[in-house]
């Protein structure tokens, strides 16, 4: 059975039974992990209540199996009156209905277990945050593709109206057009140019948290080894510090490499007639589709190391419910500079031939930030820890005051807003440079902010709220802010295109 008749209620693939069972077993084990530890370490307890424990285990497994079967039997999906309907649950029954034209994006995913069972997950996202539960976890790949195609086709009428086709390819060429593919060597470049120390910090803090949690267990069982380690380092002051630093660097590099490869393995970024699609991942294959008119914010980041490799990080954010914004964003870490330009030209067809005016952010904004973030901390913190010695002052000055001041200075040089007839580009960053492109008419609402202090200096801030996050333009000339506010509202009201 490959073809699905969506007008009649259908169930998931039978393999879903096994998946649900495995999932529930896994969550059971992770939840009762400490309890199992007791069984393993306290052999006496286990021997005393042998029958009880075995009976309990059998009962739990049977319950989980029954749960999986009931879940499978009560899960139905179909299409009725232009609505995608999903019925599930046996105790708490749920009936979810989504009008087809409200569907934001359709994602197909596959994790390790699903790879073995040869099934995929189909996720349907809507604009509202209420219906995020639409997830069919066991479908054959072909069925998922078929449903996706069906759902996409049924909205195609409203989708393709405003999009000018500006492809200079021949008529009968392949519909799909691969923009970027990342090989393993590309991924290594990406890993080395990413913020590795962030990854290192996360791992170190996680390990420390883990150690803290199981401290009593570790110290009671491995006290001898710990003592040994302590003795090894005893006597030399600088050695442990260097060792820890070295370890930190190695861990950072390794973690960054592994996480990059796992997340972006075999990435391919494809353009087709309706939009863009990304497929990537080693253990969990992720596939995200973004229709071209759903794109709200396009951003790309350049950092000095990546500039050497001639690559940028691209992020495409699409309209989606409150909780799924980040998840539904396409992120391409190693996009060639040329491909990036190519994508921009496809999405914003007339962006490159418009004239942009540049507006700098007022220096007052950075002076204020500098006062609160650089000056105030080194003036106040020593009072609290009551050690206003010269030594502490110098350390505070070198470790905090100078770096923060330099970063803020760089950021103030970089923060620029560019306005053209149809677009707004916000540039920010200190060492790296991020540029966000927004089409003015896609904005949902506008906020004008001005404190009494800002009024005195004739500056104002604007917040542009879009369906995939806010864009803040801080402290620009008040007259320019008012004009931009008026003009954005005018654009939203007069451009007769669907914002999604």
């Amino acid at each position: 059975m490959n073809s699905i008749d969506l007008t009649k209620p259908s169930r998931q693939n039978v393999a879903g039974l096994i998946l649900v069972l495995i999932n529930s077993l896994r969550s059971f084990f992770s939840r009762f992990f400490p309890l199992l530890l007791i069984f393993i370490f306290k052999k006496d307890f286990f021997n005393q209540h042998k029958t009880l424990v075995i009976l309990g285990a059998i009962a739990i497994v049977i319950l989980l199996i029954v749960n999986a079967i009931l879940y499978y039997l009560n899960f139905w999906f179909y299409i009725e009156d232009d609505q995608f309907v999903l019925r599930k649950g046996y105790i708490n029954k749920k009936n979810i209905q989504i009008p087809l034209d409200r569907i934001q994006s359709i994602n197909i995913k596959q994790n390790v277990v699903q790879q073995f069972l040869k099934i995929v997950t189909l996720e349907i996202d809507t604009a509202g945050s209420a219906n995020k539960e639409v997830k069919i976890i066991a479908l054959k790949k072909e069925q998922a593709d078929e449903i996706k195609q069906y759902l996409l086709n049924n909205r195609a009428v409203s989708e393709d109206t405003d999009i000018p086709q500006e492809d200079n390819r021949t008529e009968h060429s392949v519909k799909e057009d691969v923009i970027t593919k990342l090989s393993v060597s590309d991924l290594i470049k990406v890993a080395f140019s990413s913020n590795m120390f962030k990854a290192g910090l996360i791992v170190t803090s996680t390990l420390y948290g883990f150690y803290d949690r199981y401290k009593s267990y570790i110290t009671s069982n491995y006290q001898d080894q710990l003592d040994n380690i302590e003795q090894t380092f005893d006597g030399s002051d600088i050695m442990p510090f260097v060792m820890v630093l070295l370890l930190f660097v190695v861990v950072s590099v390794v973690v960054s490499l592994i996480s990059t490869v796992i997340k972006y393995y075999d990435l391919s970024f494809v353009r087709n007639s309706n939009g863009f699609q990304i497929i990537c991942g080693l253990l969990n294959r992720r596939q995200i589709f973004v229709p071209r008119n759903k794109i709200q914010i396009y951003s790309y980041t350049i950092n000095p190391v990546r500039r050497l490799f001639d690559i940028v990080t691209v992020k495409i954010k699409q309209a989606s419910g409150n909780d799924v914004k980040e998840k539904n964003a396409i992120s391409i870490p190693g996009c060639k500079t040329l491909s990036n330009q190519n994508i921009i030209d496809t999405i914003f067809t007339n962006a490159h031939n418009q004239e942009y005016s540049h507006h700098k952010v007022s220096s007052y904004y950075f002076i204020r930030l500098w006062f609160f973030m650089a000056l105030l901390p080194i003036a106040i913190v020593p009072w609290f820890i009551q050690s206003y010695t010269l030594y502490a002052a110098i350390i505070g000055f070198v470790v905090w005051f100078i770096p923060v001041s330099v970063m803020l200075y760089l950021a103030s040089k970089k923060r620029v807003i560019e306005i053209s007839e149809d677009y707004m580009i916000l540039q920010s960053g200190a060492i790296s440079t991020e540029r966000k492109i927004v089409e003015l008419y896609k904005i949902q609402s506008v906020k004008y902010r001005q404190s009494v202090f800002m009024k005195r200096r004739e500056v104002a801030s604007l917040v542009f709220i879009t369906a995939s996050g806010n864009i803040t333009v801080p402290f620009i000339n008040a007259d320019v802010a008012t004009e931009l506010y008026n003009y954005t509202l005018y654009k939203i009201q007069t451009v007769n295109k669907e914002w999604m």
């Binding site: 604009a127 309209a319 409150n322 004239e355 942009y356 005016s357 507006h359 306005i419 053209s420 007839e421 904005i443 949902q444 609402s445 506008v446 906020k447 004008y448 902010r449 001005q450 404190s451 009494v452 004739e458 917040v463 709220i465 879009t466 369906a467 806010n470 000339n477 007259d479 320019v480 008012t482 004009e483 931009l484 506010y485 008026n486 003009y487 509202l489 005018y490 939203i492 009201q493 914002w499 999604m500």
Partner: protein, 174 residues
């Protein structure tokens, strides 16, 4: 204008509807009372909380009783003044194509939502608001919490009118 928005403008920006020239409709006066009552409730709760934590220490309780009343009255006066300042700046405006609301005291802000970006509209009324004959209009957009617009202190009839006007505009747009 000290600097221009565009290098090369096709349309005359000075001809566009200007937000700095809007006359905002003030909220209903009884809403100021609602604000003040809320302040009193807040201060009373604060007193109870502080009093309860000091209850264990008898000496502190006595000090608290002597200090609490003056502090309470001073804070109440201060907040009443702030409330009246906040109230006098608060206002809304319904234009041909959008709805605006402004508020703030030291940090002032003006939010505008164009009609063709409104997802839905709600008129609501709490217990306190009901007692003083005011209602709240909430405008929802697809931009999440930050993009929503909440106008408190409107006469229920007026709220209904706004709702009808906006709904009419939205349906015409589609």
């Amino acid at each position: 204008m000290s600097s221009k928005l565009f290098v090369n403008n096709q349309i005359d920006i000075s001809e566009l509807p200007d937000i700095s020239k809007i006359s905002y409709t003030k909220l209903k006066n009884s809403y100021k009372t609602v604000m003040n009552i809320r302040t009193v409730i807040f201060l009373l709760l604060l007193c109870v909380a502080v009093g309860f934590t000091l209850y264990v220490n008898t000496l502190l309780t006595i000090v608290f009783l002597y200090v609490a009343a003056p502090v309470f009255i001073t804070l109440l006066l201060l907040f009443t003044i702030i409330n009246s300042k906040v109230f006098s700046y608060m206002g809304y405006a319904v234009r041909d194509n959008d709805i605006l609301f402004r508020k703030g005291f030291i940090w002032k802000k003006t939010v505008a939502v164009p009609f063709n970006r409104i997802q839905h509209l709600e008129v609501k009324q709490g217990i306190l608001s009901k007692m003083f004959g005011v209602s709240t209009v909430v405008v929802f957009t697809a931009g999440g919490n930050m993009g929503d617009l909440t106008i408190p202190g409107i006469n229920p009839d007026e709220s209904e009118k706004i709702r009808a006007f906006v709904m009419d505009k939205i349906s015409k747009n589609e």
